[in-house]
Each structure stands twice: as structure tokens, then as C-alpha cells.
């Protein structure tokens, strides 16, 4: 029976038009074995494991960090006691930008967006009483990843934990920093060299570590569409593999340890299609373009975080619902690990209470809803399969354009992904302002109710305590040996041909600060300034 429709055009949140009805004819071009395969079978569209969450639930990994290392250590112990199964470290901005807490650029920023780490002494406090060979830890660090990873490795060393047993991830994805998140320090080319060094080092010494988490999350947060998130992220992956191969590494030695990180936004089916297409395209890239032989090289593993940019400051309790639905999409898409945002994150870092509710959201999904009972439960949906095929096609089209530009580093230098994302962000903002896209509590269903939320405040005493601690480290360490290790690092970096990881480890062991180590590298590599686009 024909009826009137509410809107003229129906589109996804990314602006992709949606048909009225999907039926077998909509996916006449789909071949089950070629395009989907059973779960655990190439091209892994339906998941990388045959039994998926029946075998093992996803890892519930809440990103957290604030104030000093001592305070964050308390939060980690709290989350572990409440059933969290992995740690994820949020560093404050000075650490991410390679400044110590007493640097003038750090004024006002200490401990605000994450935990302040200036030296090994802080990393020791961060993991005090947490055995590093028993947990897995993800560290969101990019430009100074070699340094923070080295600090973690030295803490493990001091605990007597063998590096071979360590499990975890460093984000270490510098390309998306130039594209979207903008916490870069050095120019792209030396930064790529540092990443190749970490790949090589982890292959030799940390067989269970993920030395990179190739991230679309921040690309999406900067305003990209779902397709742009997918295409730019996977192409970043291609770029890393190209650089590692050029440095003489064998694809099958490092590719099984590459991991990915995606956003989970509000458009439920579009997101699930994105995860499914991601696995399929990566399989084709690794087997086709890179001729990998090890099946694990082509099986994409990824972490997901719900979309921070989708949360509203207005009526913040609505965010609990948004997060639950986004998390549901991530699980339907077969994620290996998941962070659910807290309801107050559009206002501040989460409180202990809101962080626990976010974790509980995942536990309810895992244990009460039945969605973990069978892999890819939406596989075969005419609509979802069409979206997945279209997402894949769009991805290949972006790859062609990026290949023609000479790869991702070249495309970044030309400002291509940056402009694509800015345009998408602006288009979306206008759609919201013209109420073509409705956001509950923001541009419709508005009310004046007070949120009544208690939010987390980081006071300035954190900065005072942190600065005092770092100054004490500089006074009590052996400054002679510290200078020697920094000088050795400077020479290694200048040579351009040796792996800098062993030298960074020595600097860290001598309690050289993060700022001192970064300054040494800045001297050799220079700094990056974003051109105006």
C-alpha cells in the first residue's frame, strides 16, 4: 500500500541516499563465498574468528587518564576491580606534544586531558602494583610513541616481566595526526622512520605487542563521513606497509601485528557496513597488493570507540542511549575491543561514576542481550549487504585517487584528506543547523532542564605537584649518564640508518625526561607546521 513519506530524501548520517526497500535484487551482484565467506574465512567480511564472541568476548577497554600518575593509578585499579579487562592510557597534551610539565607551552594543560608523564618516574607510579605481564595496555601516543613505549618497557623490566609476554598496543599512527588529530611534532618523513623502527623492534622483541593502531577514530571526530574514515584509515595502513617493505621488512613478519581503530557513530547500519567492508578490503589489499602468505597478515583486528563528537552537552543523560546504540553497532561489526564513552564527556573528563556506567553499558550488551551468541548476526540483510558493497566500492575509488597522488604522505602534503574532511564537517554542520539532521535535545525536542551533573575538575595543584616531581627527578638522577645517553640518541637519529629504539630506551633508563628526549629529536628531525589549506 503506497503511503506518504516523511522526507524527500532519506540519507545516512554521512549523506548517502537510502532506497525505500532492499530486496534480493538489490544484492544480485553479491557472491557469498567471494564477498562474505563464513566467519573466520576469507575475505573475513563476517568476522576474523569462526566462533567470534562465543570463544571470547571483546576486550572492554576504557580509555582513561587524568591528573598525576598517582591519581590515574588509583582509577586503573578501580576499573580493574570492576571487571575491566584491559587498560588504556590517556596522556595529557604536553606529553603528547613532547613537552615536560614545566615547559611554558604546558601552562594550564597539566593533567587536564590525560595523565601527566614527564619521565620514567611517572610511568613507574602509573603502573605501581599492576603486573604488566598479566594485563594488556593500550597507550594513545603518536609523535612521542617511541619514548612512552620505552618507559613502559623499562617499567616491565624493573618488575621482572619478560618483554616477550607483554601484550598491548601503542597507537603510533602519525599519518592521522597530520590528517585529523594534529598532535604531530616532527615532519612526516622522519616520523615514518620512527614508526618503521617500532615495527622492527616489536617484531624482534615483543611478539605479542601491536606496534601500531591505524586509526580512523580521529578522522571521523574531525568531521569525516563514514566512507572517508574507512578509506583514509586503510590507505594509511597501505602507506605503513609500503614504508616498512621499503625498509626491508617482510610483510608477513609484521602485518599480523598491525591493528586498527574505528569510530562508532550514530548511523547504526552504516557503521556496521563500515566494519564489515574494512575487513574485506584489508584482506584484498594484503593478499592482492602485498602478496602476503600468512593468513593472519590479512585478518584485520580492530578496536572501536563510540563517537565523542556525537555526544551533546544538552540533556547529557541522552548520551547514555547514544553510546549503547553505537556500542551495539561495534559489536555487530565484530570489534575485538571497545571503549564506551561516558555521558559527561562533552563537558569534561568522566567522573568515577560516569566511567563505571559506561563500562556497565558494555557488560549489559555482552551478558544480557544475546548479541554475542552468534557471529555477524545481521549478515545476509539485503540492506546491510548493499551498504557493505557500496562502502567497499567507495573505498577503492578513494584508493585510486590516493595512488594517483603518490601515496598518503604526498596527499597530506597536498592537503587532500584535510580538505575532504573539512568540507564534510562543514556540510554536516549546515545540515544540523538547517534541521535536515535532527539531534535530540540540540535542534529538536529542546528543553531548558539543568543537567545537574557533577563534573570532574582538575585543579591547578596537579601542575604544582607534577612540576615539583619532575624537577626533583632532574636533580637526583645521574646527569652525566643522562647527557651521554641523549648524545648517543642524537647521533643515532642523525645517522638515519640505525633503529633508534635501543637509544631511546637508554635515555629513559637514565631518567632523561620526555621533553629532553623530544628536544634531541627535534634538533635532528625538525618540526612540522601545518600549511594553510
Amino acid at each position: 500500500m503506497a503511503q506518504d513519506v516523511r522526507e524527500r530524501v532519506f540519507t545516512t548520517i554521512s549523506g548517502v541516499p537510502i532506497e525505500e526497500v532492499y530486496a534480493p535484487a538489490s544484492i544480485a551482484d553479491l557472491d557469498y563465498t567471494r564477498d562474505l565467506g563464513n566467519p573466520g574465512q576469507p575475505p573475513y567480511t563476517r568476522g576474523i574468528h569462526d566462533s567470534m564472541y562465543r570463544g571470547k568476548l571483546w576486550t572492554m577497554r576504557q580509555f582513561s587518564g587524568f591528573g598525576t600518575a598517582e591519581e590515574t593509578n588509583q582509577r586503573y585499579r578501580y576499573l580493574l576491580e570492576h571487571g575491566q579487562t584491559g587498560l588504556s592510557v590517556a596522556f595529557h597534551l604536553p606529553t603528547l606534544m613532547g613537552y615536560d610539565s614545566d615547559h611554558p607551552m604546558s601552562a594550564g594543560e597539566v593533567g587536564k586531558c590525560g595523565v601527566a608523564i614527564d619521565s620514567l618516574a611517572d610511568m613507574e607510579a602509573l603502573f605501581d602494583g599492576i603486573p604488566l605481564d598479566k594485563i594488556s595496555t593500550s597507550m594513545t601516543t603518536n609523535a612521542p610513541a617511541t619514548i612512552l613505549w620505552s618507559m613502559y618497557l623499562v617499567v616491565a623490566e624493573k618488575q621482572g616481566a619478560s618483554w616477550e609476554l607483554l601484550r598491548g598496543t601503542i597507537q603510533n599512527d602519525i599519518l592521522k595526526e597530520y590528517i585529523a588529530e594534529k598532535t604531530y611534532i616532527f615532519p612526516p618523513r622522519p616520523s615514518m622512520k620512527l614508526i618503521v623502527d617500532t615495527l622492527e623492534f616489536s617484531m624482534k622483541h615483543l611478539p605479542q605487542w601491536n606496534p601500531i593502531s591505524i586509526s580512523g577514530y580521529h578522522i571521523r571526530e574531525a568531521g569525516s563521513t563514514a566512507l572517508q574514515e574507512l578509506a583514509f584509515t586503510l590507505y594509511d595502513g597501505i602507506e605503513y606497509v609500503e614504508w616498512a617493505k621499503r625498509a626491508g621488512l617482510d610483510v608477513d613478519d609484521f602485518a599480523p601485528r598491525l591493528s586498527f581503530f574505528f569510530n562508532a557513530h550514530n548511523d547504526f547500519f552504516e557503521e556496521i557496513a563500515k566494519y564489515r567492508a574494512a575487513r574485506k578490503v584489508w584482506y584484498q589489499v594484503m593478499t592482492g597488493r602485498f602478496k602476503c602468505r600468512n593468513p593472519r597478515s590479512a585478518a584485520m583486528r580492530f578496536h572501536t570507540q563510540t563517537a565523542g563528537c556525537s555526544l551533546t552537552a544538552q540533556q547529557p543523560y541522552n548520551n547514555v542511549v547514544r553510546v549503547a546504540i553505537q556500542a551495539l553497532a561495534a559489536v555487530m561489526g565484530g570489534t575485538q575491543s571497545l571503549h564506551t564513552n561516558a555521558l559527561d564527556e562533552s563537558l569534561a573528563l568522566p567522573t568515577e561514576h560516569s566511567a563505571r556506567l559506561a563500562l556497565r553499558t558494555q557488560q549489559i550488551l555482552a551478558h544480557e542481550t544475546g548479541i554475542a551468541n552468534t557471529p555477524d548476526p545481521l549478515g545476509g540483510s539485503y540492506f546491510l549487504e548493499r551498504l557493505t558493497l557500496d562502502m567497499e566500492r567507495g573505498c577503492w575509488e578513494y584508493f585510486e585517487r590516493l595512488d594517483a597522488m603518490g601515496g598518503m604522505v604526498a596527499a597530506i602534503e597536498q592537503g587532500f584528506p584535510q580538505r575532504e574532511i573539512q568540507d564534510a564537517a562543514y556540510t554536516y554542520q549546515k545540515a544540523v543547523e538547517h534541521r535536515e539532521k535532527i539531534i535530540v535535545g540540540l535542534n529538536d525536542f529542546v528543553s531548558d532542564e539543568e543537567s545537574g551533573l557533577d563534573i570532574l575538575h582538575i585543579d591547578e595543584s596537579v601542575a604544582e605537584r607534577q612540576i615539583a616531581k619532575t624537577r626533583q627527578v632532574r636533580e637526583t638522577r645521574d646527569n652525566g649518564s643522562c647527557r651521554t645517553t641523549l648524545e648517543a640518541l642524537r647521533k643515532a637519529a642523525a645517522s638515519g640508518s640505525v633503529n633508534v629504539m635501543p637509544f631511546v630506551l637508554d635515555c629513559v633508563r637514565s631518567y632523561a625526561t620526555l621533553g629532553e628526549i623530544c628536544d634531541t629529536l627535534r634538533e635532528i628531525y625538525g618540526i612540522y607546521e601545518e600549511p594553510a589549506f
Binding site: M105, S106, A107, C113, E181, E221, L347, Q422, A425, E530
Partner: protein, 136 residues
């Protein structure tokens, strides 16, 4: 015809979240304003120097890192020193309610929290720059 409104959009502090700054810069341009965007990680000194050199009517500061209570007071102090205290200073980003009265007491003209539309901000600027031009 009245002179075009001149705006400096600035990102002080260390955070690289420039989605908002770039959207508002573009919306201001589309509204016919002259816009200068400073780029990322500007010190308060750099922001004020740019405002002086560009002779702007409005400074729009975008801060999402929580450092606004350190950066904004310093910028306001420098503006006073440079006798730029008639420039409209707008702050956008993650600014908790409890900081708003403190920022206004420092001389910040208006604070725009998450969710405000670019059209409302443009309208605000048009109304208040006019007022300022009349009185100065």
C-alpha cells in the same frame, strides 16, 4: 556601505581539535566577514600580536583542552596592555558553566558552549560589533 567586519579566529594552547575553529572561520567568511585564522598552538602573545596587526573587531578563541582558565586571563591582560580592550572577545569550546562568570568578569564578551549554531554566533557578532562601532 559599512566596512567589513574583521575577525581573528585563534587556537591558543596545545589542543589540536580544530574542527570547530575551522567551521566557524568558514561560516564567518560565508557571512561576508574578513577572517584570519591563526593555526594551531598559539601562545597568548602570538594571539594578541595577530589581533593588533590585523586590526580586528572580533577575536574568537577556541579551546577544548580545559586550559581556558590559564590562557584566557593572559590574553585579556595582554589585550588591555595593548589598548585593545574594545575588541569583542568570544570563547568557544568545552567551557564548564562554573567558569563563565569568571571569564566574563575578565572582560570576555561572550562564551559559546557546544551546540550553538554558527548562524547564532554570526548574528551575535553583527549586533555587537555595530554597537561597539557606534560607541567608539
Amino acid at each position: 556601505m559599512p566596512e567589513r567586519i574583521r575577525v581573528l579566529v585563534a587556537k591558543p594552547g596545545l589542543d589540536g581539535h580544530d574542527r570547530g575553529a575551522k567551521i566557524i572561520a568558514r561560516a564567518f567568511r560565508d557571512a561576508g566577514f574578513e577572517v584570519v585564522y591563526t593555526g594551531l598552538r598559539q601562545t597568548p602573545e602570538q594571539v594578541v600580536t595577530a589581533a593588533l596587526q590585523e586590526d580586528v573587531d572580533v577575536i574568537g578563541l577556541s579551546v577544548l583542552s580545559g586550559a581556558h582558565m590559564t590562557l584566557c586571563p593572559r590574553i585579556m591582560e595582554l589585550l588591555k596592555k595593548e589598548k585593545l580592550d574594545d575588541v569583542l572577545v568570544l570563547v568557544g569550546g568545552i567551557i564548564p558553566d562554573r567558569d563563565i562568570p569568571k571569564l566574563k568578569a575578565l572582560g570576555v564578551t561572550e562564551i559559546f558552549q557546544p551546540g550553538v549554531s554558527t548562524e547564532d554566533i554570526i548574528e551575535y557578532v553583527r549586533r555587537n560589533v555595530g554597537k561597539r562601532r557606534h560607541t567608539s
